[in-house]
């Protein structure tokens, strides 16, 4: 995808996200979970957990399962791949991924990136 044409919105400062956690940002009306893995690795996926319909994925625990970087939904503990949005336990529950870019101290998100 061509990042130059994508519509990036600044959502917060880097320090608004503790390393190893996520926050939920409202981007063009959509709930986007933005995660900070370690100090400087950022990822974004939909925040709504498809199994429950609740907007909670940013509140899950982040980690890795083998090679996959994942967040565990806080409700039913399904794991979502932060890079692809795939739900490991039930692929039919997968979510969309979004683009994240860092400019200086700012975190920017583009839908569907």
């Amino acid at each position: 995808m061509n990042t130059a044409t994508a519509n990036y919105t600044a959502v917060c400062e880097i320090d608004d996200i503790l390393p190893g956690t996520g926050v939920c940002a409202l981007v063009e009306g959509r709930h986007v979970a933005v995660f900070r893995v370690g100090q400087s690795d950022f990822h974004a996926i939909d925040n709504v957990d498809p199994k429950s319909g609740a907007s909670v994925l940013s509140r899950g625990l982040v980690g890795n399962l083998g090679d996959r970087l994942v967040v565990a939904s806080p409700l039913y503990k399904n794991h979502f791949d932060l890079r692809t949005g795939e739900c490991l336990e039930m692929p039919e529950l997968s979510v969309a991924t979004h683009g994240v870019r860092i400019e200086g101290q700012r975190v920017l998100v583009a839908l569907g990136g």
Partner: protein
């Protein structure tokens, strides 16, 4: 070869999967499916009502039809079969030729011939379309009746109850689940189900359905009584769909069903029938497992495997109906001549267990388990494999008393051919082989063999077999918490304590690998808290906390949180109660008194939490830790202060104990109970720590449990004064915190402890390991460093800033939607959510 499959239900789809798995070449397969959607999981149909979508119930793997080249025609019913021309004609007039025809048409719901059964808001329970109809009726109804108290009927009653309807079950037979369960079992089952708010009417013959006075319908029974309700669902059994077979003169069984032989062929060698529409040995099968067997046999036979044969089915079942365990094995009714039975009935816990044994007492013929089916796997294997029973078979179902282990099934005694997972037809030999291929965890075992992957009932047995095989192969049986740490929880505890480790990064760097996960992070957080007791939301620790600990509340199904202010011992002043009420009213929270004598406030959004806590703190409350794996409550009766029987001050002691142990992090949540006399109004013997007053002092009980697997606490020490009591509780709890596994309750910890209660007494009463001073000192440290987490969170601006629905907006989360019920809020159900969101409630 041209193959036509009529019917795309669970069994039909299993046939397609099995056929694809045979590697058959040049097969052109056409599937005629009458419903508008492909095969879905009918066994879990009721989950549709709890929000699982039709898509999520689908059984068809993405890309299945593209990959196999099979062609699926939805909403296309087969109208007739021409056996001479080998063709099937569809209702829209297409004529399709076949070499082999497989009928998997399933069954129709049976609706008794009752006048009025066709009225509006009368339904059957079979397809997703039926469910959608029920949902529509349900939204316009207050009360609902299910006709039929069998397996499916009770499933259906759960669905009605989940829709919020006042629910009744009407059964013609004198008891529920008459086929699987005997009379005493039926009674216990009925009591359990009525406890869940469903009214059961057995022995009722419905004569007609007419207009009701209060409800939409009135059901009139043969005994002159009647019942009114707004909607009715018939779930009174099924009838095989054999009409196509009858039209084309295929043989049918005397009680219906297309007659098949052991290769699943009908009286026409080119036509097979499988699943609920088929009759083998004049018998039809209403369970999915035999249907799956038939599907595999038919597929292999068509693919030229002459050995494939269906040999009947074991009709044993185990299921959870509305959370109640119900299991039936083999000859549950003891119909075998000369058979003997042993029964165990606990009316308090509502558990009923029965085994039927052969006249010589050597073999298990059948069993019924209601309320607790933990022994199902063991008993089923004993029955299926003819394993010789122990000399006193009654101990198989009696609860284990202290020190005596229940005679389990030596898994070693099972033959390799024993079928362990009947859903996926996995044998013990296959599981052993998988260990050889490297599957050493249950997750790997599921992925590799599918054992335990469907209903999960066999997982305990699969685990036993796997571990035994690993031990036999000289492999270390792995109790590592997860892939990031090659250690058990107990070992991690020791590493943290001895190495003085204070952060997860340090723990990972010194003893682990990777980034961690949702298993090891909360383990580390809990261990850090038990050892060092620092603020859980401190920067380095915050990322380790489960959502509950991160937001210091209990996450609920809609993503909102519930808040429980601590009320030590359940004691609260009128002013305190008023303050809690005012906070609840101000924020529109749902309030409920919990089982642990606290007031729980539901429906708070994350950004409201600090505001709510601030007001509760101002009124003198602190966090009740109802979110954590920590001390939850100390329940008490009013004791000697008010009660005419009380001999001890149970409230005073409860308050003191709760204040001492509040905030203690542990492997699982912990509850206490303190009763002022042996009448035991605080139910202390169902708690992790139970205390009962006597006229000689306090008696201490430990390791009891309510909840899913109840266990009576055991008497640990008697006639204690308060100082002795607290000293002992310090030791018991800290020893548990140090040595238990992740998420292991005190009850399972105690049961897995080698040496049992005697060993615990040795260590903690007689100090056989010389640990007691250290255990007490550490508990004192935890007590001394207590802080109210709510207070610390609201007063630290950096922490407080994290309590927002959105990082870039002050808006509220519009996914949290409430509707009103009985004068309070509750989360909107999926079908209510969309209109409510549109109205902006």
């Amino acid at each position: 070869m041209k193959i036509i499959l009529i019917g795309h239900g669970m069994v039909g789809h299993k046939f397609l999967e099995s056929l694809a798995a045979t590697g058959i070449e040049h097969a052109q397969v056409t599937v005629l499916c009458e419903e508008p959607r492909a095969a879905y999981d009918r066994v879990h149909l009721s989950e549709f009502f709890s929000g699982r979508s039709a898509e999520a119930l689908s059984l068809v793997e993405a890309g299945f039809f593209e990959r196999t080249g099979f062609s699926l025609r939805l909403a296309t019913r087969a109208a007739s079969i021409d056996r001479r021309g080998n063709t099937v004609t569809t209702v829209d007039g297409q004529v399709l030729p076949y070499d082999k025809l497989v009928i998997a048409a399933g069954s129709n719901p049976f609706v008794p011939q009752v006048p009025g059964r066709d009225r509006a808001h009368c339904h059957v329970y079979r397809t997703i379309e039926d469910l959608e109809g029920m949902q529509l009726s349900g939204s316009k109804s207050q009360t609902g009746v299910v006709v039929g108290g069998g397996l499916l009927g009770l499933e259906c009653a759960k669905a009605l109850r989940d829709m919020g309807l006042q629910t009744h079950v009407v059964e013609f037979a004198p008891r529920l689940m008459a086929v699987q369960v005997d009379e005493a079992g039926g009674r216990v089952l009925q009591a359990k189900i009525e406890e869940l708010g469903v009214q059961v009417h057995t022995g009722r013959n419905t004569l007609e359905i007419t207009d009701g006075a209060r409800g939409r319908h009135r059901m009139v029974f043969a005994d002159g009584s009647h019942l009114e309700a707004d909607m009715i669902v018939f779930s009174a059994g099924i009838r095989p769909r054999d009409e196509l077979a009858r039209q084309s003169q295929l043989a049918v069984g005397p009680r219906g069903g297309i007659a098949i032989d052991s290769t699943c062929r009908t009286s026409d060698p080119d036509i097979y029938a499988i699943g609920e529409c088929a009759a083998w040995n004049e018998q039809t099968f209403g369970l999915v497992a035999p249907g799956y067997d038939m599907a595999r046999v038919a597929a292999r036979h068509i693919a030229d495997d002459a050995d494939a044969s269906f040999v009947g089915a074991d009709m044993s079942t185990k299921l959870k109906l509305m959370g109640v365990d119900v299991a039936s094995i083999g000859d549950a009714h003891g119909r075998t001549a000369g058979s003997r039975s042993y029964q165990y009935l606990d009316e308090r816990r509502q558990v009923y267990k029965k085994i039927v044994v052969s006249p010589d007492g050597q073999q298990l013929l059948g069993a019924v388990l209601i309320g607790d089916a933990a022994e199902y796997g063991t008993l089923l294997q004993m029955a299926l494999n003819g394993i010789k029973l122990p000399a006193e078979p009654e101990f198989l179902i009696l609860p284990s008393s202290d020190g005596k282990a229940q005679p389990g099934l030596g898994v070693d005694a099972l033959p390799d051919s024993a079928q362990i997972c009947s859903c996926n037809d996995v044998s013990k030999g296959r599981i052993n082989a998988a260990v050889g291929e490297g599957a050493c965890t249950i997750a790997e075992m599921k992925a590799c063999t599918k054992a335990g992957a469907t209903c999960g009932g066999c997982v305990p047995l699969v685990t036993q077999i796997m571990k035994l095989e690993m031990a036999k192969r000289g492999m270390a049986v792995n109790n590592h918490v997860c892939e990031h740490f090659p250690y058990s929880r107990q070992e991690i505890y020791h590493l943290v304590r001895v190495g003085d480790i204070r952060s997860f990064d340090e723990l990972l760097a010194r003893h682990g690998q990777g980034l961690g996960c949702d298993i090891c992070k909360p383990v580390a957080a809990s261990v850090f808290a038990s050892c060092w007791n620092e603020f859980v939301l401190k920067k380095d620790l915050a990322a380790l906390q489960d959502s509950n600990d991160y937001y210091l509340g209990n996450i609920q199904k809609d993503g909102s949180y519930s808040v429980v202010p601590r009320m030590p011992g359940g004691e609260v002043t009128p002013d305190g109660l008023i303050a809690v009420g005012q906070v609840a009213k101000k924020y529109g929270l749902y309030t409920k008194v919990t089982g642990g004598q606290r007031v729980d406030l539901f429906g708070a959004r994350v950004e409201q939490l600090p505001l709510i806590w601030e007001e509760l703190i101002a009124a003198g409350f602190e966090s009740g830790h109802a979110y954590g794996k920590s001390l939850r409550t100390v329940k008490s009766c009013v004791g000697s202060t008010w009660c005419r029987y009380g001999v001890g001050d149970s409230v005073g002691l409860a308050v003191e104990l709760e204040n001492r142990y509040k905030g203690l992090r542990s492997p699982h949540k912990i509850k206490f109970g303190v009763s002022g006399c042996t009448r035991e109004c605080a139910e202390a013997q169902g708690k992790d720590i139970g205390i009962i007053a006597t006229d000689k002092g306090w008696n201490l009980y430990i390791c009891g449990n309510g909840g899913m697997k109840p266990r009576h606490a055991e008497l640990f020490a008697t006639d204690l004064d308060k100082a002795q009591l607290i000293q002992l509780i310090d030791r018991v709890l800290m020893f548990y915190v140090r040595t238990a596994d992740r998420l292991q309750r005190t009850s399972t910890w105690r049961e897995n402890l080698e040496g049992g209660l005697d060993y615990l007494k040795d260590v903690l009463l007689h100090d056989s390991l010389g640990l007691n001073a250290e255990l007490e000192a550490q508990m004192q440290h935890v007590a001394d460093t207590y802080q109210c987490e709510w207070k610390t969170a609201v007063t630290d601006p950096a922490v407080r800033r994290r309590f927002r629905s959105f990082v870039n907006s002050d808006k509220a989360d519009e996914h949290v939607v409430f509707v009103e019920e009985r004068g309070q809020i509750r989360p909107a159900r999926p079908e209510e959510r969309v209109p409510a969101m549109a109205e902006g409630i």
